[in-house]
């Protein structure tokens, strides 16, 4: 049995962005609950933040694909 430790690395790299995206949407939901009329503005900000935060996870995915290693067999 063999595999690439890069995917393990990707799993680790996804933890941070996962928490970050969670925090962003928690704040977004809070904000909308407090001020439903600010939904449009908050949505833009939330998705911008999500795009930036998720970028880290996606970079992790790229690196997982790039550094695949070779089959030892």
């Amino acid at each position: 049995m063999y595999g690439s430790i890069a995917y393990l690395g990707y799993g680790l790299a996804a933890i941070g962005p996962g928490i970050g995206v969670g925090l962003i949407f928690a704040a977004y939901i809070n904000g909308v609950a407090r001020q439903p009329e600010a939904r449009g503005m908050l949505q833009t900000i939330a998705f911008t933040g999500m795009a930036i935060t998720e970028a880290l996870a996606i970079l992790g995915l790229v690196f997982a694909f790039v550094f695949q290693g070779t089959n030892p067999n």
């Binding site: 790229v62 694909f65 790039v66 695949q68």
Partner: protein, 197 residues
């Protein structure tokens, strides 16, 4: 095709196009993707979006027109209501005035009737009075004549002398009556003179 790729895998060669580097895009797919996007974009830009925007404008106009119509209807209804209210007020005022004038007319009729009746009554009274007066006058005149003739007859009988002479007779009777009226001759004096007093 399937067998081909399987054979390729079996040969230990890189499997499929993304062999060394899985994130390498396949050129054919990119070209087809670009063409596909171009076709769809062109169709949307020239056909779908303009048509839908036209519909949106039409719908907005329709809604606006509907609102205008509703406003117009509302204004019309308001005007009708105002007119109706005005008419009602007018009618009420008219009725009031009619009632007022009727009352006045009634009052005037009553007054007139009363005046007429009063006038009639007074006239009747007047004429009755006058008639009574006239009858009395007549009676007085007749009485005077009769008393005159009676007394002359009586006197002529008593005196035996004819008092037929008009002038004298009249003078005597008048004198007597004047005395009588003056109260110089009392009935007591006459009574013994008369046979049946």
């Amino acid at each position: 095709m399937i067998t081909a790729s399987v054979v390729a895998a079996a040969d230990g060669e890189p499997h499929g196009f993304p062999s060394g580097f899985p994130l390498l895009p396949q050129p054919a797919e990119m070209v087809i993707g670009l063409i596909a996007f171009g076709i769809l974009y062109w169709l949307y830009k020239t056909k779908v979006v303009p048509r839908l925007e036209e519909l949106y404008a039409e719908r907005a106009a329709a809604i606006e027109g509907g609102m205008q119509q509703a406003e117009q209807a509302q204004a019309e209804a308001k005007a009708a209501l105002e007119q109706y209210t005005a008419q009602l007020a007018e009618a009420r005022a008219e009725a009031n005035s009619i009632r007022e004038s009727a009352r006045e007319q009634g009052a005037s009729i009553v007054a007139e009737m009363r005046a007429q009746a009063q006038a009639e009554a007074s006239r009747i009274t007047e004429s009755a009075k006058r008639q009574v007066e006239a009858e009395r006058q007549q009676a007085v005149v007749q009485l005077r004549q009769e008393v005159g003739s009676l007394s002359t007859t009586l006197a002529s009988k008593i005196v035996g002398e004819s008092l037929e002479d008009e002038v004298r007779q009249k003078g005597i009777v008048d004198r007597f009556l004047a005395e009588l009226e003056a109260g110089e001759v009392t009935p007591q004096k006459v009574a013994p003179a008369g046979q049946d007093a």
